[in-house]
């Protein structure tokens, strides 16, 4: 199974070259990949029908418990066949739809990569590798939605889809990690084999919510539904494939997959059914506002997704059976409907259902396809959609309020079908922005075949019943519950409710125009709800980011320095109070009078630099302090140090003086406000006191002189030197000295580079940036 995924990725990677070589007909050639993959997965059918599941293990990152294990059971097979099968139709269709498009090579790369990733999602038996493929579908979706990237709406929609699904994905990852920790493994089959360990764990609710967030965002459940209609900015093949048949069902897949482990609890029931029903209702209401055929279909997809999630939430054998059948039914009619809408857009120039009329004559095959798929979508016999809906109604009879939601949204479904497959096609007079004509073969063959399969399965649902649907439901339920699929159930409650839905749909069709215009007029100024929340979050994020950057990122070095030193002082001081025992015992010191004089002199010099108003005073004070320290070194038997300090101090005074000649007089002016000075002063004083206390505390501890004793003992015998300090510098610790002279060398190079009178041309030739004010200021 992994091989199918990898081969698909491989073909995706070379697809751009294939397209360049083969040209316009490359769609047909590339369709061999999904077709072949479909055939490959069909070979698993006998085993799966026999109730077996096939496990394949491949190591990836064993140290983290991550493998590329793949498992094939009924649920995976249904999804894999849908992904590859519909993929075949889509790849062919896209060849016609995007004929001659400059970006077609990239498009195929992304589309096939998406297919591979999606296969990975439904086959993975490891939570982490599932997540990897999951995120890959989000990324490929991002690029596909943003296909018309030069258009701002496309870019925004792509970003929205990515952020919503990736945000949910991250929550899901947290849930997965938790699940892995609770269950001790990331292998899904192992986790699901012991569901009670998960369900009875304290973290169960957290896991459910986190994993649920991932699934619900991906499957566009309320309140995260809004990204899906906006994703219709993508080219139609993408909408048909990712945003109706496959990717949006990844969330459904995940919930179904996890249902044996996470399902069966009240929390599960309430979370899923609430989300599902709210999605159905919200989508049904919002669909009334639409007249764009793709957006209409998008909202009807939302209704279907809501139905699926609700059914999983209910979780009874009947509901699950309905779920798997509805899943297939929906894929078989929704993908053709999208493609038909795309063909109409392509050949007649519009997706506005009110702007089109009488296309049926010019596009007979397209219309026929639309009708077959549409009747299935409307839940009318003898099509597979009817079978699916009957089952769904039966599955929900135990929960009347869920059933009510389903019936209401089914009615809207009927309206959508009318608007998409009937209204634009009927009539003698042709109304269309461009003269319509039939779509080319590549664009009708795929939808037509899918619609026909839907019709065939409607008449003979048993074809896939025992072989595929029952094992799929068994995978979700974790036990076998055989059921039979019939087109005709006899006159029962389900049928009557079904008729009711169609009647309600008829009323909606009859009153549509008034309802539509009225609702539109009333909702144009709505400023709340999930979309507004998303927009507000994004705007707020940017505003907050700008605000905090402005506050924290002043351009003034002094502010930086104050914050940094303030933090340092507070951190160290607080630690000293909380943890430290800076018990400083004052020791009896035997100092000489002249030593104290020098020390006081140095301190006074340092303090006078603060007070200095002219550079000359400051330099003088600096010199005094420096030479004073040299004298201190003399007092305490450090001749080398004293000489060095003396020489360096002299040089620094000279260099400062040389520099000062070039700085304006009164260069020390520019005092800050009193408050600022007080703050700096406080930080400085606390810092100084801390340093004194630390030095005292440290010197209060008995000194370990092992190192120095070694140097004294070895300096002459082993290193031939009598000046121990020098021996340390050039032998014992010569590496320090080597670094030290490197610092000097670079400092010299730096001064040279700074002072040379050359122009830094930059490696770049003059470009736009330089003509305006360079660099800064563009930031905030």
């Amino acid at each position: 199974m992994l091989i199918a995924v990898l081969v698909s990725f491989g073909v995706a990677a070379v697809a751009p070259w294939i397209v360049r070589v083969v040209g316009d007909r490359s769609g047909w050639l590339l369709a061999l990949l999904p077709a072949g993959v479909t055939a490959y997965f069909l070979t698993y059918l006998p085993q799966v029908a026999a109730g077996e599941s096939v496990l394949e293990r491949t190591a990836w990152v064993p140290s983290l418990g991550v493998s590329l294990a793949m498992r094939m059971d009924g649920l995976s097979l249904v999804f894999a066949l849908m992904i590859a099968g519909i993929g075949t139709a889509i790849v062919i269709y896209a060849g016609g739809y995007l004929r001659g498009d400059r970006q077609l090579p990239r498009f195929y790369l992304l589309l096939l990569a998406f297919m591979a990733a999606m296969l990975g999602v439904v086959l993975s038996d490891n939570l982490i590798s599932l997540f990897v493929f999951w995120e890959l579908t989000s990324v490929t979706s991002y690029f596909l939605v943003g296909y018309k990237h030069e258009d701002e709406t496309s870019r925004k929609s792509a970003l929205q889809a990515l952020l919503v699904t990736a945000g949910g994905g991250l929550a899901m990852l947290a849930g997965f990690l938790l699940l892995g920790i609770v269950g001790g493994t990331f292998e899904i089959s192992a986790l699901l084999s012991d569901p009670d360990a998960i369900r009875q764990h304290d973290a169960y609710l957290a896991i459910l919510v986190l994993v649920g967030l991932g699934a619900l965002t991906k499957s566009a459940q309320w309140p995260f539904h809004f990204w899906l209609p906006n994703a219709m900015a993508a080219p139609t093949p993408v909408s048909a494939y990712l945003h109706s048949a496959t990717m949006v069902k990844a969330g459904v897949y995940l919930l179904a997959r996890m249902s044996p482990g996470l399902g069966g609890t009240p929390a599960w029931f309430w979370l899923l059914t609430t989300a599902g029903v709210l999605t159905m209702i919200a989508a049904a209401s919002l669909a009334l506002l639409q007249r764009d055929s793709k957006r209409l279909l998008a909202y009807s997809t939302l209704i279907a997704l809501g139905t699926l999630v609700t059914l999983i939430g209910v979780g009874t054998p009947g509901a699950i059976a309905a779920m798997v059948v509805f899943l297939v039914g929906h894929a078989l009619y929704k993908a053709p409907l999208f493609m038909v809408a795309g063909s109409v857009d392509h050949e007649a120039g519009s997706r506005d259902v009110t702007a089109l009329r009488g296309l049926g004559r010019a596009m007979p095959i397209t219309w026929a396809t639309a009708l077959v798929a549409g009747l299935s979508a409307g839940g009318l016999p003898p099509l597979f959609g009817f079978v699916a809906k009957e089952l769904a109604i039966e599955g929900l009879v135990t929960a009347p309020w869920l059933l009510a939601g389903l019936i209401a949204s089914s009615a809207v479904m009927v309206l959508v079908v009318y608007l998409v497959v009937w209204k634009p096609f009927v009539g003698r007079e042709v109304t269309a922005p461009t003269p319509p004509h039939e779509a080319p073969l590549s664009m009708w063959i795929g939808p037509a075949v899918l619609a026909l399969i839907g019709a065939l399965l409607g008449i003979a649902p048993w074809l896939i019943g025992d072989g595929l649907m029952v094992p799929a439901a068994a995978a979700v339920l974790a036990e076998l519950h055989p059921f039979q699929l019939y087109l005709w159930h006899g006159v029962n409650l389900a049928l009557m409710l079904s008729v009711l839905a169609v009647l309600l749909g008829g009323i909606l069709i009859w009153r549509w125009r008034g309802l539509h215009d009225g609702l539109r007029a009333r909702t144009t100024h709505v400023r709340f709800g999930p979309v507004a929340a998303y927009d507000a979050t994004m705007a707020g994020l940017v505003r907050f980011a700008a605000w905090q950057t402005r506050v924290l990122q002043s351009d003034d070095l002094r502010h930086h320095m104050t914050i940094i030193l303030g933090f340092a002082v507070v951190l160290t001081g607080a630690t000293a109070l909380l943890r430290g025992d800076l018990s400083v015992s004052l020791r009896h010191e035997t100092g000489f009078f002249y030593e104290y004089i020098v020390l006081v002199l140095v301190a006074a010099a340092a303090l006078s630099i603060i007070r200095a108003r002219t550079p000359l005073v400051a330099i003088t004070a600096l010199g005094v302090a420096g030479f004073g320290i040299a004298v201190v070194f003399v007092f305490f038997a450090a001749p080398d140090l004293a000489i060095t300090q003396f020489l360096v101090e002299t040089l620094i005074v000279i260099i400062v003086a040389l520099a000062l000649i070039r700085l304006p007089l009164g260069a020390l002016r520019g005092e800050a406000a009193v408050g600022v000075r007080l703050l700096s002063g406080a930080i400085a004083i606390v810092g100084g006191v801390l340093m004194t206390l630390l030095t005292l505390a440290v010197t209060g501890v008995p000194f370990d002189a092992t190192l120095s004793a070694f140097f004294e003992a070895q300096s002459y015998p082993a290193a031939q030197g009598r000046n121990i300090v020098n021996v340390i510098l050039v032998d014992f610790r010569a590496m320090d000295t080597l670094g030290e002279i490197v610092v000097l060398a670079v400092a010299a190079a730096g001064c040279y580079a700074l002072l040379r009178r050359v122009v830094g041309t930059g490696g770049e030739s003059p470009k736009r940036d330089e003509r305006a004010a360079p660099g800064r200021g563009e930031g905030a």
Binding site: L658, R662, I741, L744, A748, A749
Partner: protein
């Protein structure tokens, strides 16, 4: 500073100070001094010359650019470390060649000495580079 006295004095001082700086460096292993202190004094000698005659004259007198001195000094110091590698010892291990000069006098050549010479050259080069660069403006 065009005084002849200063010029003469600084020429004399230059020689004396340079010699003194070398002396400081060489004796550093046994008495206060060493490459750094010696280098500073040496640099001071040339800097004094530069103040008296201008930095161009000082540069001409040096014949080698101070930046080159820095490079050579660095090379010397690194090379001193490499000497030990030739003997199969760790980098920077001291190597000694003591040449007897008769009558108890001996000449101690060593890698630490070479290292210290490197330090000396880098210090002279560094200080002069800085001073010349500042003077140039």
């Amino acid at each position: 500073m065009n005084s002849i006295i200063l010029r003469t004095a600084s020429q004399l001082l230059l020689t004396i100070l340079l010699l003194f700086s070398l002396f400081l460096m060489l004796r550093g292993h046994d008495l206060p001094g060493g490459g750094f202190i010696g280098g500073l004094v040496g640099a001071a000698a040339v800097a004094l010359y530069a103040i008296a005659f201008g930095y161009r004259a000082a540069q001409a007198m040096l014949r080698i650019s101070p930046r080159m001195l820095v490079g050579v000094g660095l090379l010397a110091a690194v090379a001193a470390g490499f000497l030990a590698l030739l003997q199969g010892q760790a980098f920077l291990t001291g190597q000694w060649w003591i040449i007897g000069l008769g009558e108890g006098a001996e000449l101690k050549l060593s890698s630490p000495l070479l290292f210290d010479i490197g330090v000396y050259l880098v210090v002279v080069g560094t200080v002069l580079t800085m001073v010349f660069a500042l003077e140039e403006r």
